[in-house]
């Protein structure tokens, strides 16, 4: 212990003596105040998540019905209620060197997105170089990566943060040097030029929950399946669903974590079927294991109740084959195209929305056939917006025909 204190003392002295620090000046962190609304006890949904912010919830739900601006055939260029900002001060001549600090490529969603982004880069001749570093899901590595990228002479830096709170200092530091574009998860600072995201988790969770409330008879038993606690983008999905369920007549008989593991999901659902005899609806915070949940009913010889999944091919295929009562809210992977487009706009001095809210469509039984593409691999995300990109479908693992 003395050793450590000594070290602290030594470095403090050194700092006072005027040594270099890469630490950004005080961060204006605006941690969302947890305004958790108290919940109806006994509804089975438990206490409200501390991530829940009523104002964001209201805003996202409202955005669902707003008409986005921009070309309708290119949702990744659309924006909902954009507040445009001037970017003239970033204007410079091409060709450009774009840099990207990626949180990870460790799941199919990020894989599809990453391939889409690379293809988008290929469309623009004015990008002479695209440097991307993969943080492999490690906050600490991403902090180093961001620092390293600043030294590479990037004209713009795109960041997909691994976690919100912990990456904030690093992003703040980068903001001082290059125009920064953040997408997917946000950071607790408004220093990036633009923050790109689909409407968000509340809309996702509410879309699914509203569908179930409509389709499940009053008093029906709904099982909620979540991947894991603590991930902001997933917490918002559940907290929105909770609000919807609390106001409804359906009964949430369980909220279980599945770790995103298909076998565990199937086991959990089988257990609930066994315990309750009948489950009338399944709510999921992510679609990756939806098919496993469906199979639990099939294997038990029961009809599949109303369920939500996501825009993954295996679920869409099952939906069509088994003619399910289902809905698939999405968190579109086409958002990986937008940061490149935004970076180029910024470097050309064109206006961009300060908060770039992309539309977040949902797959319903009416539009299912437009999204279902049997030649794509089972874990492909339909809303990749990649159909018109060079290399489609092989690059995304699909087959030509």
């Amino acid at each position: 212990m003395p050793r450590h204190k000594a070290a602290v003392a030594v470095f403090t002295t050194l700092v006072l003596a005027g040594c270099t620090t890469d630490k950004p000046p005080a961060v204006q962190s605006s941690a969302p105040a947890a305004s958790a609304s108290q919940t109806a006890q006994g509804s089975g949904t438990g206490a409200q998540s501390k991530f829940f912010v009523q104002a964001d919830f209201d805003a996202q739900l409202a955005m669902r019905s707003q008409t986005p601006q921009g070309p309708t055939d290119k949702p990744w260029e659309q924006a909902i209620a954009p507040k445009m900002i001037d970017t003239a001060k970033y204007k410079k001549d091409g060709p450009y060197h774009l840099c990207f600090s990626n949180a990870a490529v460790n799941n199919p969603w990020r894989q599809v997105g990453w391939k889409t982004m690379q293809a988008e880069v290929g469309l623009h001749k004015e990008i002479k170089k695209f440097t991307a570093l993969d943080a492999e899901g490690k906050d600490d590595k991403q902090i180093s990566d961001i620092a390293e990228l600043q030294a590479k002479g990037c004209d713009a830096l795109i960041i997909s943060p691994n976690t919100t709170a912990t990456l904030t200092p690093a992003v703040t530091a980068a903001c001082g040097k290059v125009p920064v574009i953040v997408f997917d998860r946000g950071v607790e600072t408004d220093c990036p030029v633009t923050f790109i995201k689909p409407i968000g988790g509340y809309a996702f969770g509410a879309d699914a929950a509203e569908f179930l409330v409509e389709k499940v008879p009053a008093g029906g038993k709904v099982l909620a399946l979540r991947i894991l606690p603590g991930v902001d983008v997933l917490e918002t999905r559940w907290s929105a669903a909770k609000v919807v369920f609390d106001k409804s007549k359906v009964q949430v008989v369980g909220v279980e974590f599945t770790d995103g593991d298909a076998a565990k999901t199937k086991s959990v659902v089988s257990d609930y079927i066994q315990r309750h005899g009948k489950i009338d609806g399944i709510w999921m915070d992510a679609g990756a294991t939806a098919v496993a949940a469906i199979e639990a009913f099939e294997d038990a010889g029961l009809p599949v109740p109303p369920i939500n999944g996501e825009d993954q091919q295996d679920f869409l295929q099952k939906w069509k084959d088994a003619n399910l009562t289902a809905v698939a809210p999405t968190y579109p992977t086409y958002q990986w195209r937008t940061p490149i487009i935004a970076a180029l706009k910024i470097l050309k001095g064109e206006e961009v929305p300060e908060m770039w809210n992309l539309p977040q469509p949902k797959v319903t039984s009416e539009n299912l056939s437009t999204y279902l593409k049997p030649n794509m691999p089972p874990l492909h995300y339909a809303l990749c917006g990649c159909e018109d990109l060079p290399g489609f479908p092989e690059t995304w693992g699909g087959k030509k025909s």
Binding site: R3, H4, T20, A132, L133, D139, E148, P169, G230
Partner: protein
């Protein structure tokens, strides 16, 4: 055979400067030669790719990247030298970062208590590990895996995301540097020097090698083997605690997944054996571990510069570790033959 090595060691310790030289033989030399080679290869590859390898940023990056792993690996070296190992470090790091950030709560005045609390909790975890291994006779693999699960459960139960706030002044630990040398690397160096001194200049160090070399013989020669193992585990956990503090300073908050995301458990063991320390204990040292950690960090930096995807990295890392240890094993046999 261990007996022979062991018998020679006191003599070497007796020589004033012989200790350092003695420790710089065989695997340690190999790992530093490999490190030099790798830097050279990296230079060429990155140059061919049109980049610059050893820029200021990448040198700083290498150090920043390896400091936390380096500190954990030093602790892991002590445990492994004593014939044990510690799988609980990753979760302990997460716990430490949370304890630190929660107690600090953004206040400069709380840094002292927070650091003290982290070190105390880490020492306690190490004590539990050590006692379960020695008193309850549970194999270190299972004992520390069990502790890891216990900590995981507690952390996951109490926290579902980053928590606490590290004051600006403490964040400097993670960001400041003196010229090209970050403070975090100095902290790592400090821990390494202390561990090196402990191993090569103290009675305890001698006992650690003895216990790791052959526990029975050590016991028969009057060493309280149990106590030695407990102490190495306490030190190992304290190192993990320090790494947790460092990461809290980097992140500005405590994070329940920072230890596991970094894979500090298996990666620290890999770094230790890459540095030439025998997994079975009794052979090796801190210098090798420092080399091993740097080797992994330089490898990472090369991959980063060349933008190699993470799957290739895994393959290369796996192959490198196995080949390195195979090389050491080969030399070991030749020498004893």
């Amino acid at each position: 055979m261990n007996l022979l090595t062991r018998a020679r060691r006191p003599a070497r310790r007796g020589q004033a400067r012989g200790g350092l030289a003695a420790r710089l033989r065989e695997p340690t030399q190999v790992v530093f030669l490999a490190l030099l080679g790798l830097v050279a290869v990296g230079w060429v590859l990155v140059a061919l790719d049109g980049g610059q390898f050893l820029t200021m940023e990448s040198v700083v990056g290498i150090q920043q990247r390896s400091a936390a792993l380096g500190i954990v690996a030093i602790g892991q070296t002590l445990a492994i030298l004593a014939g044990s190992l510690d799988l609980s470090v990753a979760y302990l790091i997460s716990l430490a970062s949370l304890v630190a950030a929660e107690i600090m709560a953004g206040q400069d005045g709380n840094i002292g208590p927070a650091v003290a609390a982290v070190l105390a909790i880490s020492a306690l975890v190490g004590l539990v590990n050590g006692l379960v291994i020695t008193r309850l006779q549970v194999h270190a693999f299972i004992a520390t895996l069990g502790t890891a699960l216990i900590i995981k459960g507690i952390v996951d139960h109490l926290y579902d995301g980053p928590a606490g706030k590290v004051p600006e002044s403490f964040q400097l630990l993670g960001y400041s540097r003196i010229g090209p040398i970050p403070v975090s690397a100095l902290l790592w160096a400090g821990v390494a020097v202390v561990a090196w001194f402990l191993l090569s200049r103290t009675r305890l160090g001698y006992r650690i090698y003895a216990v790791g070399g052959n526990e029975e013989v050590a016991r028969l020669s009057g060493i309280r083997t149990g106590r030695v193992i407990v102490i190495t585990h306490v030190l190992c956990s304290v190192c993990a605690g320090i790494a947790g503090l460092l990461l809290a300073a980097r992140l500005g908050a405590g994070a329940p997944t920072v230890g596991t995301d970094g894979g500090y458990d298996l990666e620290s063991i890999a770094a230790v054996v890459l540095g030439g320390t025998a997994l079975a204990g009794g052979k090796g040292g801190v210098a090798g571990t420092v080399g091993g950690v740097l080797l992994l960090a330089v490898l990472d930096t090369i991959f980063n510069q060349l933008e190699v995807n993470s799957f290739v990295k895994d393959v290369v890392r796996g192959v490198v570790i196995v080949i390195a240890v195979a090389v050491y094993a080969r030399r070991g046999t030749r020498r004893s033959a």
